[in-house]
């Protein structure tokens, strides 16, 4: 079994490159060899005063939300989301449905007004993040249409 023969000069060069470019991570791979260097550049290490300690769940939830929201249709307003036009009715859409642009996919009630939310484009419903009659905030991911 061959030993690692490390190329110190290369690592030093990568270190300098990181510093120079402000990058925080760099990975190279070639012929079964791989080298990865990281540097926690300043901004990332600024310590956040964290009354966060007391609201850990709220904060922990945030990144997850950010992740799922990438391609999601997000709520344009605060309110209560409904998946069907009446309690217990057939949902406007469900996962797997093909939808056309402009088609109502759910309703958000705000200020006692029902606001239809329509599909921004043709596509297939990949995911529905919310339950019927669930309160939603501004920017909250609702469904994914691809």
């Amino acid at each position: 079994m061959s030993k690692f023969d490390i190329d110190e000069a290369l690592i030093r060069k990568l270190g300098l490159l990181l510093k120079e470019t402000g990058l925080t991570e760099l990975e190279l791979e070639k012929d079964g060899q791989r080298i990865r260097v990281m540097s926690q550049a300043a901004p990332a290490t600024v310590v956040h005063a964290s009354p966060v300690m007391n609201t850990a769940p709220a904060v922990a939830a945030a990144p997850a939300k950010a992740e799922v929201s990438k391609n999601a249709l997000t709520s344009p307003m605060v309110g209560t989301a409904y998946l069907s036009s009446e309690p217990g009715g057939t949902p406007f859409v469900k996962v797997g449905d093909r939808v056309t642009k402009g088609q109502t996919v759910l309703i958000i009630e705000a200020m006692k007004v029902m606001n239809p939310i329509s599909a921004p484009a043709n596509g297939v419903v990949k995911e529905v993040f919310i339950q019927d009659a669930q309160p939603v905030e501004f920017g909250e991911p609702l469904i994914v249409i691809e």
Binding site: P51, M77, E137
Partner: protein
């Protein structure tokens, strides 16, 4: 008492309200724009709702979003804070129509005092002293008599005026007709209308305001005055209570007038009646029908938690004390710390790389800053209030100096250096300033 209060505001005042709720055992709902997701009041609240994007009109001024947030979280009451919707009668009505309590005055009082003309008429009706002058347009023939009644010097103002055009001072009867003719000519040229009115000219007034507090049961008290004469472009910079220009008799007299008026109006909640004060006389400017940024200095000298009382009276509770229970102890200053250049006053939003609040005896910091927080460019630049209290004005002033030395805010520019200059300025030390002093001092 309320179980859950929605705080329809941001920044230090949202945190201030959160603290009061917390101490009353009330759960809090923070509503916030997208850029405020990491704000201190959001981190500390029991529940949070994002109500819109960064621009205020789409979030903190978005009435529908705020009412919806109250609905989905099941809040009992909405505290509007300061600014934004706090003096919006339509919002207050909407809050009440949706079955929530608006923590503030009735919508009627909001609109009454929100209209400058009606506010002045109301003030007059309820015995609050106003700037004397003509009640409308004057004729050349009436001018000398009205000026005599008003008292020289008088200010001649174009009815259609603005920006100082068609505005002249007459210091004595000899100057009156010439000044009037000049002002009319200017007004004619500028606005095509030479109608003029007249009021008393105040050359060196102080800005003095009376804090009042009233419940729904006809009880009202005042918490003395605040001197807010240190202003730049109508923005208050450093306030103190009591005013170095008032004596106890003047305080009691104007306080009594304020309380009587508030009772007669049937006003409830906290409020402030603002005056110009010159040569021992008060002249009504306006009434602020909400909490004020500088409320802590009144709290420091009276020991009364104004936000707690505001919430209490909104819930229908009667005031727990009367005027005779209120004693004034010591002296307080508030330095408004803004994220701005201390010389050019240009706003300086950005990442707070370091925040260290002054501490120790007699020092209170109200701030939603923390190291790592990003001051957004979307809202106003007030980032901290440094409040000090001492047994005497001098003790409080010395305390302000040492606290300013301890205060560290890095990453953005702040006006701390301006405050450090102010607390060592001889005129300020002597209490010898009026509303024009600060602009002269900073040379702007």
């Amino acid at each position: 008492m309320f179980e859950k209060v929605l705080i329809a505001n941001r920044g230090e005042i949202a945190l201030r309200i959160h603290r009061a709720c917390r101490e009353m055992g009330i759960r809090t709902v923070a509503v916030h724009s997208t850029v405020d997701a990491d704000a201190m009041h959001v981190r500390l609240a029991d529940e949070t709702v994002c109500i819109g994007p960064a621009p205020s009109r789409d979030s903190y001024l978005n009435m529908a979003a705020i009412i919806s947030a109250a609905t989905i979280t099941g809040a009992d009451a909405i505290h509007p804070g300061i600014g934004f919707l706090s003096e919006n009668a339509k919002f207050a009505s909407m809050v009440e129509e949706h079955g929530f309590t608006f923590i503030g005055p009735s919508p009627d009082h909001l609109s009454q005092m929100g209209d400058k003309v009606e506010a002045k008429l109301t003030a007059k009706r309820f015995g609050i002293p106003c700037v004397p002058g003509s009640d409308g347009a004057i004729s050349d023939a009436d001018a000398p008599r009205i000026a005599e009644e008003t008292g020289y010097p008088v200010l001649l103002k174009a009815a259609a005026g603005g920006g100082g055009k068609g505005m002249k001072v007459a210091n004595n009867p000899g100057e009156l007709m010439e000044s009037l003719a000049m002002a009319k000519a200017e007004a004619k040229a500028a606005f095509g209308n030479d109608q003029m009115y007249m009021e008393k000219y105040l050359s060196h007034p102080r800005h003095i305001e009376i804090q009042i507090l009233a419940d729904n049961h006809g009880n009202a008290v005042h918490l003395g005055e605040r001197d807010c004469s240190l202003q730049r472009r109508h923005q208050k910079v450093l306030e103190e209570a009591p005013s170095p220009a008032l004596n106890a008799d003047q305080r009691a007299e104007i306080g009594e007038i304020a309380v009587k008026a508030v009772k007669a109006m049937g006003y409830r909640s906290v409020g402030t009646i603002e005056f110009l004060f010159q040569d021992g006389k008060f002249y009504f400017i306006e009434m602020n029908t909400r909490l004020q940024i500088e409320h802590p200095i009144s709290e420091m000298i009276t020991g009364i938690d104004l936000v707690r009382e505001q919430i209490r009276v909104a819930s229908g509770a009667p005031l727990g004390f009367s005027q005779s229970d209120i004693t004034f102890t010591g002296h307080a200053f508030e330095c408004r710390i803004n994220a701005e250049d201390p010389v050019t006053f240009m706003p300086s939003p950005g990442l707070i790389t370091d925040f260290h609040a002054a501490g120790g005896l007699g020092v209170r910091v109200d701030s939603a800053l923390y190291a790592g927080y990003k001051v957004p460019s979307n809202y106003d630049s007030l980032i901290a209030k440094l409040v000090v209290h001492g047994k005497t004005r001098n003790e409080a002033l010395m305390r302000a100096r040492r606290a300013l030395e301890e205060m560290v805010i890095l990453g953005v520019k702040t006006n701390i250096p301006l405050h450090q200059r102010l607390v060592t300025a001889p005129d300020f030390i002597n209490g010898d300033y009026d509303i024009r002093w600060l602009e002269k001092f900073v040379g702007i």
